[in-house]
């Protein structure tokens, strides 16, 4: 008997939150009539209480880190410290205009500068630009830098970007946005890159390779030094997709592995919240070969004065990626998070993320699940495949994912990476307790029993949420992405 109305279904003519707007409508005198709007668009017409109640209740229909265990592989759903949010939302930061004079920017700029410096040490690179607004934009920037590098050497033949088949979808998409053709490199059954295939693919057309390590398969690419050598020998460069940096913080650094440029996902490794889809932030780090091409703006410092570096300072920069300084507030959050953890804390991140993942992996194996890479250590995440269960009982990975929701646990990433059929990619993160992991193991153990004895419950899960399983096919076929009939909804005023 819940209220499931849309905000528009509560509309009543002209109603709005009167405290939130000026007391009257001013007359418009100086704008020609034909420039003016004559229609009244369909927008909410609700009181402040209605709005607060509506969206408070909507929020309650979400699973989130703050309410549920959320072992979503490749997403690093760790605790987002509340203090970090509070620090980033101090009024001095929130009210600063992006174009404020440098005299009124020293607090903000100093945070960014120090963040740049810390990320250099964390990655083993020599320069950092903080401006990309998410991982994918970081990838674009990094690949564009590779392109700029080859072009600066007049090496125009390099038109191909190599990408392992296990790569995240943003990798090939970013390469294409940079004008490259994508060549997929296959993976061996142990999860490592197929070096023979790589060798065959390399050549004068090779601009570079994009790698995640540990890969999205949840294993560490052990041949990384060899790969780096092969690619460099062929004249290509190495891009590191830092989405899985949480796995190796303080253990091994992309710079030391031989990568030339990389991005980080601050909204993963550095605990800035995911916000139901974003915002993220994807700073990019590069070695000496590439640092001149970094996107602007960058923050400089001389004699304790901080200032912006732009085209003048970086004439070879690939350019700007946003109107101002990327997702500035997320940078402040990441800075605050790193300061909270400090060097010791950062080292622990990878250790406990890895401990949790390996513990879960061993326990799920005991519970009868099939590991995708049974001979390997888990990194900070690992994969199980439901292929045997699908064959034997007709229960697939999606069913398990949905059934977990009934146990108050968010589903792991399902059906990614694409090359492992019926897979679940499970990432517990370091901030979850053993009790929470044990509770998950217990749920998965019960589910294994249900898979074998009660396929109906598996197929109709979730049972206990406000909605049963949703029809995604209908959503795509009978496209309904705005409410009401567009033409009726807009009336003349």
């Amino acid at each position: 008997m819940e209220n499931n109305l849309l905000i528009f279904e509560q509309n009543s003519s002209g109603r709005y939150a009167t405290s939130q707007a000026p007391n009257k409508i001013m007359e418009i005198k100086d704008i020609p009539k034909n420039y003016l709007r004559t229609t009244t668009p369909l927008l909410p017409e609700a009181s402040e209480l209605q709005v607060v109640r509506h969206y408070t209740n909507l929020s309650r229909k979400n699973f989130s880190i703050d309410t549920h265990f959320y072992p979503l592989g490749s997403c690093t759903m760790k605790y987002n410290p509340r203090g970090v949010k509070t620090a980033a939302m101090l009024s001095g930061f929130l009210n600063r205009h992006p174009l404020a004079p440098e005299s009124h920017s020293q607090g903000f700029l100093s945070c960014l500068y120090e963040l740049q410096e810390m990320l250099k040490e964390i990655t083993g690179m020599t320069a950092v630009s903080l401006t990309p607004m998410a991982g994918a934009q970081g990838e674009f920037a990094g690949v564009a830098m590779i392109r700029a590098y080859h072009q600066s050497r007049k090496d125009y033949a390099r038109t191909e970007m190599l990408v392992p088949d296990a790569a995240h979808g943003t990798n090939p998409a970013s390469a294409v946005m940079c004008g490259y053709t994508v060549k997929e490199i296959p993976t061996l059954s142990n999860g490592d890159v197929d070096l023979n295939a790589l060798k065959a693919a390399l050549g004068p057309h090779t601009a570079g390779i994009m790698l995640t390590n540990p890969s999205t398969l949840g294993v560490f690419e052990t041949q990384i030094a060899e790969i780096a050598k092969m690619v460099h020998d062929a004249g290509g460069l190495l891009y590191y997709d830092g989405a899985n940096l949480n796995a190796i913080l303080g253990k091994v650094r992309p710079g030391d592995m031989g990568f030339d440029v990389m991005h980080m996902n601050l909204h993963k490794t550095f605990a800035t919240p995911h916000g139901g889809g974003g915002p993220g932030s994807g700073p990019i780090a590069a070695n000496d070969k590439l640092k001149n091409f970094l996107p602007i703006p960058i923050v400089g410092c001389k004699e304790n004065k901080y200032y912006w570096l732009d085209e003048q300072a970086y004439p070879n920069s690939i350019g700007r990626l946003s109107a101002f300084m990327g997702n500035a507030g997320i940078l402040i959050r990441a800075y605050a998070y790193i300061r909270l953890l400090g060097k010791e804390g950062l080292h622990r991140v990878a250790e406990f993320a890895t401990l949790n993942a390996n513990y879960l992996m061993v326990q799920l194996k005991k519970a009868g699940y099939t590991l995708a890479f049974p001979t390997r250590r888990a990194s900070h995440e690992f994969i199980i495949t439901l292929t045997p269960e699908l064959k034997a009982y007709g229960v697939n990975a999606m069913d398990v994912a949905k059934r977990l929701l009934d146990f108050g646990i968010h589903a792991p990433t399902a059906y990614f990476p694409l090359l492992i059929p019926e897979c679940l990619l499970i990432e517990p993160t370091e901030t979850e307790s053993k009790e929470t992991l044990d509770n998950f193991i217990e749920a998965m153990t019960k589910i294994m029993v249900e898979i074998k004895t009660d396929q109906r419950i598996m197929k109709t899960a979730p049972q206990t949420l406000p909605l049963k399983r949703l029809d995604e096919v209908k959503a795509a076929r009978e496209l309904d992405i705005t409410w009401g009939h567009h033409d009726d909804a807009t009336r003349e005023h």
Partner: protein
């Protein structure tokens, strides 16, 4: 151990279960020769109390009392309810709503958002956000090129925000797309030159209003699509792009910051994009659709995912994955509180405050309008006849060397008549 919940005995039990003797063993697949030592220059950890003191000091350094800078980011009142709701853990700490049944809050909100933006812009469909206004325009251009098929050229009215131009260049040039700038005066020279699209911003960077009907029709006559870059708040009073010219703009994009998003040094903000239904399959970014569950109850889910990188990979409409979801949450709550009535009040107040200051300033003998007698929304440009130290407003000279000693000033609903009078008085007395 900050944020690590493990007790010693937990660690031991877990190691025993795994069958290793130390955590270090779990990293034994990493070749020794590339292993890292301990971090050195990163400072020791702080506790939250120390952190807050540090950050408070930093934040306090940046307080600026009176701001008349706009230039793409605008100071507006943000209702307290907005961020109280946005920062609820359920919104703030959820991931992208891939598991629809566990994400109905975010999904329904996005469906409502799409409806609001489509209606406000007068378009048929909206996506669920792009990074920001500038990169969103680049996405619109890529989309227009995909739609147009035959042309890789884009015509841009040079009154566009210069940072947007730069961002566009970075993002579209690798695909060999050429952006050509024109003025209102010389646009005719580009007739029949086969542009995929023309980019019109309304209001333009200088706050001025363009004759969008004429421009739109001209573009369509020349077989170009029209990309409208608009300040969405201005649509409370200005003609919606869906009604520009005879058939309306084709792609509408812009910056959502004026709708409940704090200035915050430039981000996170969010870009929006709306278009005609026929173009939806070339639209980048996530889209939410309504559907039903097994019991025929209405629900919401991500849809048309076959456009996106996680399905289509190299053939996706964009590489965007993480977007600006939480900001869209703020925008949605903001628009719900304000409604069209509230938006009109905000927009007309901005306009009338700006008009007021403009006229007052022109009464000073050392101030001249940079673009006399042109209608504007809430931003205008002036030229000073004498140098003034720390002039509030955005100095145009850096981006436009031809506009010496000229400033772009923005006035929103946050300023009172008294504020404006005081500002003018101080200027008059050389303060």
């Amino acid at each position: 151990m900050p944020f690590i919940p493990h007790t010693k005995s937990d660690i031991q039990t877990m190691l025993n279960t795994i069958g290793v003797s130390s955590i270090e063993n779990l990293f034994d697949e990493i070749p020794q020769n590339i292993r890292t030592g301990k971090f050195k220059t990163i400072p020791d950890g702080l506790n939250e109390m120390e952190l807050m003191r540090l950050m408070q000091t930093r934040a306090d350094q940046d307080k600026l009392d009176f701001n008349f800078i706009g230039a793409g980011a605008y100071e507006h009142h943000i209702p307290a309810a907005v961020w109280d709701i946005v920062t609820r853990g359920e919104f703030m700490t959820a991931y992208t709503p891939y598991q629809a049944e566990a994400s109905q809050g975010t999904l329904q909100l996005l469906y409502e958002y799409q409806t609001m933006m489509a209606n406000l812009t007068g378009m048929e469909v909206s996506n669920a956000s792009l990074y920001d206004g500038a990169s969103g325009l680049a996405e619109a251009i890529l989309m227009a090129v995909r739609l147009h098929k035959s042309s890789h050229k884009i015509l841009i009215l040079n009154s566009l925000n210069p940072n947007y131009k730069k961002t566009v260049k970075t993002l579209v040039s690798p695909q060999n797309i050429e952006c050509i700038e024109c003025t209102l005066e010389n646009i005719k020279e580009h007739k029949n030159k086969d542009f995929a699209a023309i980019v019109i911003s309304q209001p333009n960077f200088f706050g001025l209003l363009e004759d969008v009907d004429k421009l739109t029709d001209w573009a369509h006559e020349n077989n170009s699509l029209v990309i409208a870059v608009v300040n969405p708040l201005s649509l409370a009073i200005l003609k919606e792009p869906g009604k520009w010219g005879k058939t309306g703009a084709d792609i509408v994009c812009g910056e959502l910051q004026p709708f409940g998003i704090p200035l915050a040094s430039g981000g996170p903000y969010a870009g929006f994009m709306c278009t005609k239904k026929e173009f939806i399959r070339q639209m980048p970014g996530r889209i939410v659709g309504a559907t039903v569950d097994k019991e025929n109850k209405r629900g919401f889910t991500l849809t048309l995912q076959a456009r996106e990188q996680h399905i289509r990979r190299a053939k996706a409409t964009s590489n965007i994955c993480t977007n600006q979801g939480l900001l869209v949450t703020a925008v949605t709550v903001y628009l719900s509180l304000l409604g069209f009535e509230g938006l009109r009040r905000v927009a007309t107040q901005c306009h009338s405050n700006a008009e007021y200051l403009y006229k007052k300033l022109l009464e000073l003998n050392f101030i001249k309008p940079l673009f006399p007698d042109k209608p504007f929304f809430h931003e205008f440009a002036i030229t000073l006849n004498k140098p003034i130290k720390n002039m509030a407003g955005y100095n145009l000279e850096k981006d436009f060397p031809e506009y010496k000693n000229s400033f772009l000033l923005c006035v929103t609903e946050t300023k009172t008549k008294e504020d404006l009078d005081l500002f003018v008085e101080n200027l008059a007395h050389g303060k």
